[in-house]
């Protein structure tokens, strides 16, 4: 395991989607592996249905708590247009893990602004390596929409500088004891997210496909 480099993970989405929780789990998993960790949150007004991001940085020693544009190793987007909003934060070759759900804010729904037709195609056309899948459909198939968080974490598990099992252990650890019934279903969601990402990372597809 290389400890002289810093891993930058930018988690983005909309207030209420679980962005903060996902970032916290990644941070705790990194701490358990002995890394120094810093995690930045945008709170305040953004919580009211606005844009939410959390920056997770870990390595041997982390100074700045923020990820600069062009330096994120992984972008975890809980909503597809939000994925495109933060795509320029990726370093060359960084991975965008994108939930394809489209959530239009009231100003879009009212016709003041347009929702981009295909944000994933836009990103791919610009050369971004996007892995896109419907995390909501996977969660729904498993019977609980709240599992989206675990599905998304499963999806990035193969891109971390530590084994996927360590991330899974942090997720499952949240339910062991208090809600043992949630353990198995979260394991399934994690595996399903991981599979979905593997399946969709077959290579960068052509724009507009």
């Amino acid at each position: 395991m290389k400890r002289d480099i810093i891993t930058n993970i930018l988690v983005c989405g909309i207030g209420g989607q679980g962005v903060m929780t996902a970032a916290e789990i990644i941070a705790q998993a990194a701490i358990a592996k002995g890394f120094d960790v810093k995690k930045s949150e945008v709170a305040g007004m953004a919580q009211r249905g606005g844009v939410v991001t959390s920056h997770v940085r870990f390595g041997r020693r982390v100074y700045s708590p923020v990820i600069s544009p062009g330096t994120a190793d992984i972008l975890v987007a809980f909503e597809v247009a939000e994925g495109s909003r933060w795509a320029d934060f990726l370093r060359p070759g960084g991975v965008a893990m994108v939930n394809t759900i489209r959530l239009a804010p009231p100003i879009v729904s009212a016709g003041l602004f347009k929702y981009p037709e295909d944000p994933v195609a836009q990103m791919r056309a610009a050369g971004v390596a996007v892995t896109d899948f419907d995390a909501g459909a996977i969660a729904r198939a498993l019977g609980d929409l709240r599992l989206i968080n675990t599905v998304m974490l499963g999806a990035i598990a193969d891109h971390l500088p530590f084994p996927a099992a360590d991330l899974e252990a942090r997720i499952v650890g949240r339910f062991q004891g208090s809600k043992p019934g949630m353990v198995e279903i979260n394991r399934k969601a994690f595996a399903a997210g991981r599979d979905a990402a593997r399946e969709r990372t077959g290579g960068v597809r052509a724009a507009g496909e």
Partner: protein, 614 residues
């Protein structure tokens, strides 16, 4: 239970800067802690409240919070208060004099600057208060330092007989980082001793304290020169040396790993001699500070003319690596590499919205319809969102409580021909108690023609739902005396017949109440009385749905502004002799809808009905 409270001595854990400050304050033996909520400082007191062995309160405003802490300090107990940057403006009257009187029990004031403006009305640099009030300023850069400096601040406070400012920024408060904690120190309570010459600040007594304050500042300067909180982090690349403080120093260390940095944790009084010594070891000196050039100007005044600072760096916002690297490379005459590979997409703005069923929406839906007849002075809280889409029903927002005074000023300034437009003031419950009451009293006393709307949602909404004297609960959630807004405004002199309580979900009733009151040329108050949907007081009901065949696409319900309502299809209706009309057929998200029925009130063709149970 918070990790900051549970963490055992010597344990290492991930804590936000706010939690770290709380832990440090508790370990320092503080007995009395007070605050008014304000982003990004709010969580400090919320965490302190969880410790069993200290007194913590939500005060009605920051001035009162500081006064509570002053009283505790005078009584010999270690005391603490926290506030956001603009909160210290409110508290400054007490602050400027108590720094003259000094302390018995250590007194620490945490003030959190919103550098980058994520949730405030301005971006001011609280370090100025150090110079203005002659008190020391400590500037932590991360959670570990926030924790350590909170403890050190109490020691400095008692050693130098002065309150101490702990200056935080958003990137300290809301960043989680690893910290190692210790244990609570037992600090004996010294008790109150009558000392009129010290505590009664008449001109004669204050005059006696002035020389002491000046002497104290000299001693503090010596302490700063010797302080371990000011450290040189040496580096091999001596082309540029940096003087920095707070999170900016962390961004610097990240950006220039080999550069020498003099990192100031004890930044006022400035350790001028140490900075001069440091300057002599590097080719160029650059001051990197958020946000104003305080250190830079002090160094120039001390004779270090050839330094850089705000000539090459921005004077606002955060000094993150993407800002620092190009500026310093340019200074050195180096090429500035492109930072990003991929383009920046800006799909559409996603501004914060009100929550589904928020009672404020009823008010703004109504005000939007009266828009041409009213001028609206607004205030600070969730309801400031009323300025945005789709309501566009706020004309001003300045500071906490300003709606009242601003409305009165608008009333008094208008020409007779403008009298047809009514003046309204809109304010929330917590903000009214914080600083709005005085303004309303002024409206009454000076016979203003203003209709004040007090949006009582029984919480401090925007900061996350804190208690206040109008909620009936204290900081710990226990029963507390509850102010009666109608009686309160009546006591301020509003005539009983000009005070109306209205359910904001009943749109026609609310519209009538506002129309009636603005027609009468004297002060009136309309109190809306539905709780915040995120509070414990809110009761959810069965959701609603749209009957597609009945929906005419008029779009009226969209103007309620509820995020649960979206447009599912549009059509264009041709009209002879008039412009086309865009029809908007809507859908209600049953997962978001809580059955408040406000949209039902707005729907002419009665196309919105209770959803069938799944």
């Amino acid at each position: 239970m918070s990790a900051a409270v549970q963490a055992k001595t010597n344990s290492r854990l991930l804590l936000s800067g706010n939690d770290a400050v709380a832990r440090g304050v508790w370990e320092a033996g503080a007995r009395v802690c007070a605050a008014y909520p304000g982003t990004p400082s709010t969580e400090i007191l919320e965490t302190l409240a969880l410790f069993p062995d200290l007194y913590a309160e939500w005060s009605v405003n920051e001035k009162v919070a500081l006064e509570v802490a002053i009283g505790a300090s005078m009584s010999g107990a270690r005391a603490f208060c926290a506030m956001k940057h603009v909160g210290l403006n409110v508290a400054s009257d007490a602050f400027m004099t108590m720094t003259l009187a000094g302390v018995i029990g250590g007194l620490v004031i945490a003030v959190a600057d919103d550098v980058g403006l994520s949730s405030s009305q301005n971006e001011q640099d609280s370090r100025y208060w150090g110079r203005f009030a002659h008190v020391p300023v400590l500037e932590p850069a991360d959670s570990q330092e926030a924790y350590e400096m909170a403890k050190e601040a109490f020691e400095l406070s008692e050693r130098f007989d002065t309150p101490v400012l702990l200056r935080l920024t958003t990137r300290v408060c809301h960043v989680k980082a690893m910290i190692t904690v210790g244990e609570r120190k037992a600090v004996p309570n010294k008790g109150f001793v009558t000392d009129v010459k010290r505590w009664v600040m008449t001109p004669a007594n204050a005059k006696n304290r002035l020389p002491k304050q000046i002497a104290r500042e000299g001693e503090l300067a010596k302490a700063s020169e010797a302080s371990a909180l000011n450290v040189v982090e040496d580096g091999s690349d001596r082309r540029v040396g940096f003087v920095s403080s707070g999170p900016a120093a962390m961004h610097l260390r990240e950006s220039f790993p080999d550069a020498p940095i003099l990192k100031l944790g004890f930044s006022y009084p400035l350790p001028i001699e140490r900075i001069k010594q440091f300057a002599a070891t590097v080719e160029r000196l650059v001051v990197v500070e958020e946000t104003e050039p305080l250190i830079e100007q002090a160094l120039k005044a001390a004779g270090l003319y050839a330094i850089h600072g705000k000539d090459i760096l921005p004077r606002l916002g955060e000094l993150t690596p993407d800002v620092l690297i190009p500026a310093i490379k340019t200074l050195l005459g180096e090429d500035v590499p492109a930072t990003t590979t991929y383009p920046h997409f800006e799909p559409f703005p996603r501004p914060p919205t009100m929550c589904p069923a928020c009672p404020h929406m009823g008010v703004y839906f109504t005000l939007h319809r009266l828009r041409k007849k009213v001028q609206i002075a607004g205030d600070i809280g969730c309801y400031t969102l009323g300025a945005g889409h789709p309501w566009n029903a706020l004309d001003t927002t300045i500071s906490m409580g300003a709606s009242m005074g601003v409305a009165l000023g608008m009333d008094k300034a208008r020409d007779p021909e403008d009298q047809d437009k009514a003046i309204l003031a809109v304010i929330g419950d917590s903000t009214f108690l914080h600083m709005g009451m005085q303004g309303l009293l002024d409206i009454v006393y000076n016979r203003g023609n203003v209709t004040a709307l007090i949006l009582d949602n029984r919480t401090t909404g925007m900061t996350g739902g804190q208690q206040h004297p109008g909620t009936g609960k204290d900081l710990h959630g226990g029963e507390a005396p509850r102010v009666d807004f109608a009686k309160l405004v009546e006591a301020l002199g509003v005539k009983p017949e000009r005070i109306k309580k209205v359910d904001p979900y009943l749109l026609p009733t609310l519209a009538k109440a506002i129309r009636d009151e603005i027609a009468i040329p004297e002060p009136s108050v309309i109190i809306t009385d539905r709780p915040c949907v995120l509070s414990d007081f809110y009761e959810k009901h069965q959701p609603y749905q749209v009957v597609d065949d009945t929906c005419t696409g008029c779009g009226n319900c969209i103007n309620v502004g509820c995020p649960a309502i979206s447009v599912k299809r549009t059509a264009v209706k041709k009209r002879e002799g008039a412009s086309d009309v865009e029809l908007k057929y809507v859908h209600i998200d049953a997962a978001m809808c809580t059955g408040c029925a406000m949209c039902v009130e707005s729907c002419g063709p009665k196309a919105i009905i209770k959803a069938e149970k799944a």
